[in-house]
Amino acid sequence: MAEFKIDRRRFLTAAGIGAAMLPLSGCDAFDSVLGDDAAVRNVLAKANDVTYRVQRALFGDEALAPEYSDSEIRQPMRPNGSTDPQTPEYLKLKQSDFADYRLEVGGLVENKLSLSLAELRNMPSRTQVTRHDCVEGWSCIAKWSGVQLSRVLDQARVKPSARYVLFHCYDSMGDTFTGPQLYYETLDLVAARNPQTILAYGMNGSNLPVSNGAPLRVRVEQQLGYKMAKYIKSVELVSGFEKFAGGKGGYWEDTVGYDWYAGA
């Protein structure tokens, strides 16, 4: 029986070649095809459409994210994104502790609404202790109180042509030629009508702090943090978002290319 033997020198040579190959995995070779709007990147990004369709097909529209006990609130909610908006409109509202705040609900609705914080607080409320998952990878558990978005939508009577909810916000992400670039985000109506999707005005038993989106932010517990618009100015029902801003349905989607569907 022929037995294959290998001497030490041959092995070390082979090992050396192997080791030398590792840095060759140098990954900048792929950078050119992965830039914003590069064709290859756009093809790969279609995987998000698959994820969206599969999750919508397999999972119930009413699926609830896990809720935790109060004892699992072990730290203040970590604020991120905008934490202290400086637009004049927002500063004016903040000065009077949001007494003059009105949530405008418009677009494809039968009944346009303009709701004060008191009116929102007088609607049936929902409180939930949930885990906030940031796209960066961290998680933080906090208690959120607010009114279910579905109740607001029902009151506004959404037209059948509406497919998405577009949030317009007070916080500026930077200046453009036409003025400050205000934050915006969109949700489909399944996410918007989930029982856990609330317009939150309270956090950890107090009023929602400015750093976490006062006076009103949305909670979408089945998706990542960037979908949960803070400092909400108005809610617009739309049939599509292709023509709005960069056309990808959100500030981060348009500027850095995060996936529109963030159920991951």
Binding site: A15, I17, D31, A65, P66, G137, S139, D259
Partner: protein, 287 residues
Amino acid sequence: MTIEQDAVSTIPPKSKRLVYRQSGWTRVTHWIWAISIFFMVTSGLSIFNARPDLYIGQQSGFGFDNAILDINAEQEDNGRIVGVTTLFGHRFDTTGVLGASGDPANPDIRAFPAWATVPSFYDLATGRVVHFFFAWILVATMLVWWVASLFNGHLRRDIVPKTKDLANLPQDVADHARLRFHHTGSYNVLQKLAYAGVLVIVLPVIILTGLTMSPGVDASFPWLLDVFGGRQTARTIHFTCMVLIVLFFIVHILMVLAAGPFNELRSIITGWYRTDDKIEDGEARNG
């Protein structure tokens, strides 16, 4: 692709010791995995760089400490930037690779260095796009492999070690330590354990912990969080499995080089493998 081939009847007459060892299913899935795992690991490191810490539990400790790994950069009193990796409370200077890398005079502050990530520059969004695309490819290939390997017997015959194999373990370890390789129609026990470990344990666990990190999946399968001890523990396990896969890859490549890269590559490309046995001793492999 011809999945079943009669090995004996198709052996070329002049090379009688060539056996048909790898089925089409094994070969095609092998190369799809090779490509997708390369992109999964490199884009995964890109994603990790956005939050270069690993935690235990449901959440990330900001007001308390539940981190087991942290990769960061610090500035020393003399102005020098150093990469510091803290693992289970032990600090290591990892300047040049982890934390701070690239040009020593003007280092990049990033957990994993540019050469290890796709894309090489910091771009969380693109890292995620690449990661999830290849995640679908990997999962689809895994399903194909499982179905094929259950039906054609690859899993039972070639992968899962039998009692007889385990009895050979000491001898096999001794042979590997001496770099003495036996080329037969089937895998040796260390190979079986390595392949079973990756295919039956590590890859399924890395897929499941990946799903556990998805808030959309958690809403429908909250038991995943219980199985893996919370979302942040799942992320830590996901990362650990990646390290195991990289270690497997390094050993795998070294073994291929040591055992004869031409023969090994031929078998995983064409299916034909040259054995040490005479044909009447060697058991030719079908499918």
